[in-house]
Symmetry: C2
Subunit: 207 residues, 2 copies
DNA sequence: AATTAATTAAAACGTATGATTGAATGTAAC
DNA sequence: GTTACATTCAATCATACGTTTTAATTAATT
């Protein structure tokens, strides 16, 4: 039981599961296709995770944690600078981390994570798991937006916020398509694309 | 071979397939769960459709056809009245039919159709089928928007258009959640919700 | 070196999958 | 009424599914 070598098999399984769940969905992905991609034994999944359901939860939580952390950190930085940040500044803190992770992640990992995020909102069975993984981020940003737009009702802000998340996920998932918001991965172009998306979303939020 | 009684079994299969594909995804839905819900024999699917793949195509096309037709008709009406319609008018023609179908469809049919629409964009294997089913609508509305916003480049309009579709699908799929854009199904509330969404989307498009 | 615990491997469990078959049933035309 | 066609049905194919069990292997502790 060495902490350094912890989870080599676990990580292999999680990496393969992340990719296949993202591409095919949770229900359509078999444990056998995962162990084939991870090059491990079938029983390893049940040994390390217990069941397919628990593997799904572990995969989602591993994906969500760094994104939520980056979003909260960025929002805290913005709020430290300006006690009453603008809608644009809040949306920037919310959208930039995810976009940077996707566009500058190693290999296709970012796109995979984006698709997995999308899966969490489309699969009714999985939705509560995903909602819980992103709960801290959701409530924090919703509160910040409420302070920046005090004239709008909670329910109005809630569905608008929900639409901004939908836009973010779509931008992330469509990253490989022609006419994507961002074509090349240069830092300057990434920053410009984030600005475009923030501008688009802010216009809607303030409408 | 009577044209009047055509497709009783076919329709039962399509109805069940539509619901299950929408709820669980294409890969995760078995033909046996479909024939169980449709109360038909297993072989009926292969007799009437040929394979699971072809059933998927038939299900998507049946769902898309009336929506595309309603959208195009509404746009034609708007264009007949004003040769150069506003962004809001174009978006209204684009969003209202789908929203009305969902909110005023018989039973949960509308919500099911919305979820199926969403599936067509999230399942990589299925995406080309869905894209083709909505192709006519997409290109027509994109052209109309291009005329209303001549200062924006094609690629800019394309990703913005794509985001509006993502918002539409999200609104449709989240129709049953708390804090949805629309709470009750009264015609007045539906019209108001459409107006809110059009306003939100138009602000982004013009940004 | 011996013992214990952690991990991996192989095989099997019962059940479910998409697809196909050939017989049974209904329905039209002659 | 009988032929011809369209449709439904039950049974079966080979394969794949999630899970469990038991044995082999590896690593850490004494």
């Amino acid at each position: 039981m060495v902490s350094a070598s912890f989870g080599d098999t676990q990580t292999q399984i999680l990496d393969a599961a992340e990719q296949l769940f993202a591409e095919q969905g949770f229900g359509a992905t078999s444990l056998r296709s995962i162990i084939r991609a991870a090059d491990v034994n079938l029983a390893a999944i049940h040994y390390h995770f217990g069941s397919k359901e628990k593997l799904i939860v572990a995969t989602i939580e591993r994906m969500a944690q760094p994104i939520v952390q980056a979003e909260l950190k960025q929002l805290a930085a913005v709020q430290a600078e300006h006690p009453q940040p603008t809608v644009e500044a809040i949306l920037h803190a919310m959208l930039a981390p995810a976009l940077e992770i996707v566009y500058h992640g190693q290999g296709d990992r970012g796109l995979t994570q984006a698709r997995l995020m999308g899966r969490c909102r489309t699969e009714p069975t999985i939705e509560p798991i995903g909602a819980q993984a992103f709960a801290k981020s959701s409530q924090t940003f919703l509160t910040a937006l409420q302070q920046a737009l005090p004239d709008q009702s909670t329910s109005e802000l809630t569905w608008k916020f929900d639409l901004v998340i939908a836009m973010l996920i779509r931008v992330l998932c469509a990253a490989d398509q022609p006419n994507a918001i961002l074509q090349d991965n240069s830092p300057a172009e990434t920053a410009a694309a984030i600005e475009r998306l923030v501008h688009f979303a802010a216009a809607g939020m303030k409408s």
